[in-house]
Symmetry: C2
Subunit: 341 residues, 2 copies
DNA sequence: CGATTTCATGTAATCGATTACACAAATCTA
DNA sequence: TAGATTTGTGTAATCGATTACATGAAATCG
């Protein structure tokens, strides 16, 4: 009545059993054409819709996957999720989203929630905090649920990941800045307990060394990804005896803050100072002084992660497989770092 | 073994029945303290986790809600979703996200998918296309599943909605532009078959009439929400015999495109020309010439929608209730429209 | 024509948790 | 101490769909 037609209702209406109805609906070859047709018509007439929960309980497959991210309202994460969704929707999967707000306990909670919900796979970009206790992640692996890290991964066995080559991105960016004539390159780092930030730092360091430029610890500033921290960092840098003439910021937002503050100091970009961001946030392109940045192809990253998941699901024989996909970063060289064309 | 402990496993281990285990875990008062303690300890030791699917099947409540949006990788929708998630997570709900890509058939498909998944509620912002056939929406109502529209709603009985007062926002914006000395105000409209765009248009129209300014049809341009269309529209406007001296764009992206093109024509903003956007996309604030815009409080909108949903769920007695919440828009008057301070 | 396949369908268990009802043991009442 | 309550558990049905196994009927075969 209230819109809940089950196979039993159809069975009753046709004076057959639910088993027959189920078989007819599932194109089981053992069902006669006439019965099949009758069932299909009746199902349609009664507006039958399969109850996925019952199916999920029986089959042990929920056709849901979970995505855990620090937050969804940034271009990067929203785009990755969109990519995952686009890759998985055609296969009948729904995406459940969880946000950690960079909070470890929330992350643990989210993993547990998803496991209880019997998701068929978990995609995650770990939160900022360093953690010693991997127990909650181990549990996912033990349950044989595909776990795919993207972007912010953690090196583990039996876990797949999709990332970009952060080391390379950082190396190339630093190299580019050097080629633009900047030898005094400041570096805005994220939390280096995360692999991506450690890799980026190493790329920066290596490029300087390869060019015989010594590392100046005063130029290395740890920031959070927002405009204010970028502004504050510039203030510190300009107060140095020997201030830098370029900034490589691992956050577009901090790069923006830096640019704002530099301009307020009357410093001309890119003539006197180059700035390079990271992440290709939409605004970087829109600025009057467009900001050079690294594109992480988040959409592609999401699609690739979906792909990796599907392969894992379909090759359940070699369960212990892990697949580490590394995408190539794309340097978007724009006005904020272009002295020499 | 592979990580699937059920209440039957616990029961067997303690030589009692699953019913007792279930009751103990659910704090049923009829269970003795000693048994309860024993069960809880054993459950913990065996790493028991409740299977939500089984619970959902039995109770008819999945503890999942669905959100249907045109796309998630824009600030507005991502923020609304975040708001919904924040409002519902403490109550134990998970959010399932579906994107329509502005495609009606995809929207219908999404509704059906969510219904099959037995979600407890559906939040949606309808896609751009006009539609005559509400059948798929009616089905949600028939099933007594709370349906909450946000932003892009459709006027229907028994359906709640959370929107901003688009008419007022538009009226106030137009009034503001007039007060800044602009009498020739062009208007970039979205698809007026959607209520929000119709309301915005009416607000614009009314403000002009109230100020005895005649409507100039040449100034009304229908656009899609992107930078290019904003640029093209400016081109058309400047080719007019009597070009405008202000633009009210119902899209921030189009406003940005307009500003870019106006500058290329050597037109000074705001001295010669005012521009006002809509949506408070992050970049509007970051531009060197910050863009005036209307804030739709998406986070608050999402939280409010979650609230409305929870109220509907908890007052299931008066099922036919509908709750139309209208939030106040906030005009963010920035540089692009500030001639007179 | 009797025996054997084949075909279509029915029977009943299953997935995991909850819960109305039943019932035995323990406790209380008069 | 018989009878009434209370207390703690067990029994079994239920949510909806699937499926191994059983079965009856029709078709095929020698």
């Amino acid at each position: 009545m209230s819109g809940k037609t089950t196979i039993y209702d159809i069975a009753k209406a046709l004076n057959i059993t639910a088993a027959t109805v189920s078989r007819a609906l599932n194109n089981n070859p053992k069902i006669s054409q006439s019965t099949r047709k009758l069932v299909l018509e009746t199902a349609n007439k009664m507006n039958y819709k399969q109850n996925k929960l019952a199916l999920a309980l029986r089959s042990g497959k929920s056709n849901n996957v979970g995505v855990i991210v620090p937050r969804i309202n940034t271009n990067f994460f929203a785009s990755v999720i969109r990519g995952i969704e686009e890759g998985l929707h055609p296969e009948g999967y729904q995406v459940i989203i969880c946000q950690t707000h960079e909070d470890e306990s929330r992350e643990i909670e989210n993993v547990n929630t998803l496991l209880n919900a019997q998701v068929d796979g978990i995609f995650m970009s770990i939160s900022n905090l360093p953690k010693e206790d991997n127990h909650y992640i181990e549990r996912v692996i033990q349950k044989n649920i595909p776990l795919i890290f993207f972007d912010r991964k953690k090196e583990m066995k039996n876990v797949s990941s999709v990332t970009i080559d952060d080391y390379l991105a950082s190396y190339q960016t630093t190299q580019h800045l050097i080629e633009q004539g900047c030898k005094k390159i400041a570096y805005f780092s994220g939390d280096r307990s995360l692999e991506i930030y450690e890799d980026r730092y190493r790329g920066y360091e290596k490029a300087l060394l390869d060019n015989n430029i010594p590392i100046n610890p005063d130029y290395i500033i740890s920031i959070k990804s927002n405009v204010t921290e970028g502004r504050d960092a510039v203030e510190k840098l300009l107060a140095l005896e020997n201030p830098p003439n370029a900034i490589f910021s691992t956050s577009d937002f901090a790069a923006l803050g830096a640019i704002q503050r530099l301009k307020e100091h009357g410093i001309k970009i890119p003539e006197d100072f180059c700035v390079f961001g990271f992440g290709n946030e939409p605004f970087t392109k829109f600025m009057e002084l467009s900001i050079s940045t690294v594109d992480q192809s988040p959409l592609e990253m999401g699609k690739m992660a979906a792909q990796v998941f599907l392969e894992k699901i379909n090759n359940s024989d070699n369960k212990k497989s892990e697949n580490k996909v590394v995408l190539m970063p794309k340097l978007l060289i724009r006005q904020s770092s272009t002295r020499i064309a």
